[in-house]
Symmetry: D2
Subunit: 339 residues, 4 copies
């Protein structure tokens, strides 16, 4: 049975309207590419690329920021983003032990696109899919990474068990990639905030869907520990600088909390935010402008996490390990009874 997004199940998170695709790609220019790597009984992994715009990112760097919710993770490139307030490469997500190979492949891609460049601050994030995936195989190759970057497209974004999400799990269920977006009116102009998550975190009993304690109600049994991590990518077309993007990135943590995330000791929870505004726009004021994107980012993050569960298929992988999908129709009932 085909998996459905939250809104297809009549679960609508929050009070702001979504963009057209309810996806990070609603921010004009942003593209997403997945390569799913499934081999034999044990390899369940992949790579997901997020490309900020349609032009040469190294030559047209974009304002960016990082927020580390819990730093038990291996994300690459953060210090330079923080120092310079900009990002100069696409962002790739993959599994923990593949991150350095993926980064090296991103370098191949960056050199291909910028033969004259001599230094590239590759930004790459990871979660640990080692329960379902033979993570020590480091099955994501340079070709996979470059393919994900090259095929990144605007419009519809696949969710669930695709790309880096292939082998992930969270809140006691199969998880993976999820996305959502919100549109905010800021003093008469419309700006979009889009979020893409790679979910691999969360105690089963803490899961909330639109505030409903679904984890508790389902009596889901999960791991006793909250290990695994989440990568949250926030994009906006609002004219904001890196300091303001840091503020937006911090609000993504509120969306994680609303979904029941607790940032457990072993969960590497990182937010990377970037802006691709129209070059002619003046920066938003903090007081009457950037502030209006805070709740939209919270809502988009919460819904992206819910989508990353709803869209994930049940999966069997390494050593016969299995993760069930969240029972979407049952969750729909639980939520509807209470909202």
């Amino acid at each position: 049975m085909a998996r459905k997004r939250a809104r297809e199940l009549d679960i609508s998170i929050g009070r702001f309207k979504t963009g057209r695709h309810n996806a990070i790609t609603d921010v004009a220019g942003v593209r997403v590419g997945h390569v799913t790597v499934v081999e034999g009984d044990s390899v369940r992994t992949g790579v997901t690329a997020i490309v900020p715009h349609d032009r040469n990112v190294f030559k047209e760097k974009v304002p960016a920021a990082v927020h580390v919710i819990n730093g038990y993770g291996k994300s690459l490139g953060l210090a330079q983003v923080e120092e310079l307030g900009e990002i100069e490469t696409p962002i790739c997500l993959t599994n923990t032990l593949n991150i350095w190979r993926a980064a090296d492949a991103m370098l191949d891609y960056m050199i291909r696109e910028n033969p004259d460049g001599g230094s590239f601050n590759v930004v790459c994030g990871e979660c640990n899919d080692g329960f379902l995936n033979d993570i020590k195989a480091r099955a994501v190759t340079a070709e996979h990474v470059i393919e994900a970057l090259d095929k990144a497209a605007s419009g519809h974004v696949d969710e669930g068990c695709v790309g880096a999400g292939t082998g992930m799990r969270g809140f006691g269920f199969k998880a993976g990639i999820g996305t959502s977006s919100r549109v905010a009116d800021v003093n008469g102009a419309e700006y979009t905030a889009g979020v893409l998550v790679l979910t691999n975190t969360g105690y089963a009993q803490e899961l909330r869907v639109d505030g409903v304690p679904v984890g508790r109600l389902l009596q889901a049994e999960g791991e006793p520990e909250d290990k695994g991590s989440i990568m949250i990518i926030v994009a906006t077309d609002a004219p904001v600088d890196s300091r303001q993007l840091t503020r937006l990135a911090k609000r993504a943590a509120f969306g994680l909390a609303r979904a029941g995330g607790t940032a457990g000791h072993g969960s590497g929870d990182f937010v990377i935010a970037f802006a691709v505004p129209d070059a002619k726009s003046a920066l938003l004021d903090d007081r009457s402008g950037a502030d209006k994107l805070f709740v939209p980012v919270i809502e988009a993050t919460e819904e992206a996490i819910i989508n990353s569960l709803f869209m994930a298929e049940p999966t069997t992988g390494r050593d016969g390990h299995h993760m069930d999908a969240i029972p979407a129709e049952r969750v729909k009932e639980l939520v509807q009874e209470r909202c």
Copy 2:
């Protein structure tokens, strides 16, 4: 009609058990003192003191940490707490424009207790009660501050419109002081995490009580902006150091998010955490120990915020401004219908 705490309304947040008083004072040695300052039609303010232990805090400094959720606030003493990982004075909370006078009064108190000392890192936090209170009167005097410090007591903690909470509001209703605690089993030992909040933040429509979107259901009308701030004090008797306390402090933000907080631009949201462990205890390990306090801190913060609303009385103040109390029985119904 007497106000009731969440649990008196059969609203129980989370899965961990509370301490005896369900208050920050469940952490042995922690004391709380309030002085409420109400004068004429316009002064609605006060001061709340949190004292880490029964001995001389300057001579027996305690491990401490700070987490700034949103830095639009005037809290004092943070840099030294971060540098040295310890706190050497009690913590006082008051209104924004009184904070420097309150700090100066804390200095009087510190010198009184430590005549030989020559430098004291006074820690003081604030929220802006200017809607109900004539804040420019700076009505909290040195005597009030010292009285709050001197009367600080263990056991029961008054909540709502007391001390620094007298003139605060949040989520569209009258707010103030709230507290809660949780007890966690860590490898066979029981440790308590207690939280005290001074709530003055939150959009009316975002309020959640145990996940139920009470703000939306009540169609509460509040300010269009999320201004005002929240101070969150976290105490624990677990043997943790300042780095680990930073991790606990960050989880308090998750409790704020669960209650519907969004850390709006104008909301100065600060967490100050300290530990008063038994001196003989070895530090907890991050992996199997400190981690077990994360969810307890989240739950205690969430419930403390809810208590700060439930326990607050309707209040009229400056220029006839009025804030209603949250309709507790109606909220109880809304929550019970859905849980």
Copy 3:
């Protein structure tokens, strides 16, 4: 005998040219005001105000940043400067135990200038002059603070034992206020970086003057501990934002290091940087622009510290405590022999 500045002693630090006054006031609009408070045998203190521009600072906030070199200090207002990247009040410097009273007086001043305002993020720094000054007297009154703010002027800046510098000491000698400036050519435009320091730090044997180990050569005997602190204020007319100002602020630490500073445990070493660019200027690029102000800030900080020693008079204060002035002519000889 009148004290002389470094350049009057033919000691020229660095390779960039100075502004007209070789002072922070070379940044157009920046004003400095001192009130020196000397009473009887024991009070040796004061207050120094730095005002960013000639207009209403609260209404025309300026980009600002903070860098904490060593956080053993009580500086006020830092969190909001970091969050919003701006400063909305002048900056005052005074003694440690007077900082909260000075801040409260700044509030009086801010309300006087902005009767409609309801919240002000007062920025105030301190060093501990308790060796020469009866610091517990908190002798700096509200009137002193407001006088310093009101009399703040452009042009020449008094140095040494004036204002907040009255009772300070450093590197084994009497110290106090010092200032210096540098002018940089950035792609054809001239920008000024000015620094004002309140020096109260440094081991005697570590002092360097233009690299010459003057402390060692003088066999100066000082305290065995590096206590006391330094406040460093950096101003520029270059069009830079708060992130870039953070980078400038960090370079001030390099100037401190060049002068022999070591940021001892008990030394609260804070940098506050702000920009007052021409409103029409586009932000400088990090790569080819802001970078060109790094060495100028280092040099101006180093020279400001040297000036704060050279310009300080010998002083006797509390309990007959005495600090000699640095023997300027002898230092001049030591430096000239070696350069």
Copy 4:
């Protein structure tokens, strides 16, 4: 003619005594391994491994901290070190574009040593040797990295053009690896602080040797920009925790400043500090203990940088690019004339 260390040229930096080897390996257990990779006319690079102790580092993690002086760099693993305050792998240094391959090789090594482990926070730093080295060749292989880790030894440490230092330059001259150590008496106990640097930073005209402005006196001509970076590794056998190690790491920046470093825009300047105390020691107090290591760390960093220049041989590499060695005997004369 054989290159000489600073002390062999009678240049003694600072007032603390050195350890036996005047090297990071004076901290008992610390080992260093270099693999130099020179191929044909264009490859001038390598890898340097620093191993904290003789046992399994993953199983016996050590307290650690990070300080980012200027974040224009690609160092890996920093976020987890900051979150957990510990390091669980050796540290490798290499060239910028090789860093991800080196990290992936470190993973091979970690898995070899810990077959049961599923996640490793590899810590790896880099500088850009692209002037002398064909950096896009990524000539450092997995074998090189593992060889450096396996051959890491205590005792004497090679300096200059070895390992990661092979192709580096700084302050207008050929640079590379340098090391130094200091021994401090802390309340009767002797503790050692050792520093190893990979120098690839610095304006020619800013170089100071023991305070003498050697760069200016030599009229050295260097690049107009301060690009290139420095990695600074600090080790100590003092019983300090991660917060205290952060304080030590920050003092390394003071040593860089003393040598004339300015942390230019394009210079990625990172400090990684770790402690390998005797397991039975109680933590040092900040006030009377850890503080006594500040100046030793400053001095060891300054001398390590000077050694990294003095020990480097003139080198010709990619496209015939050439870097002269610093004229050591001439510098010795300049310094002796002035000290």
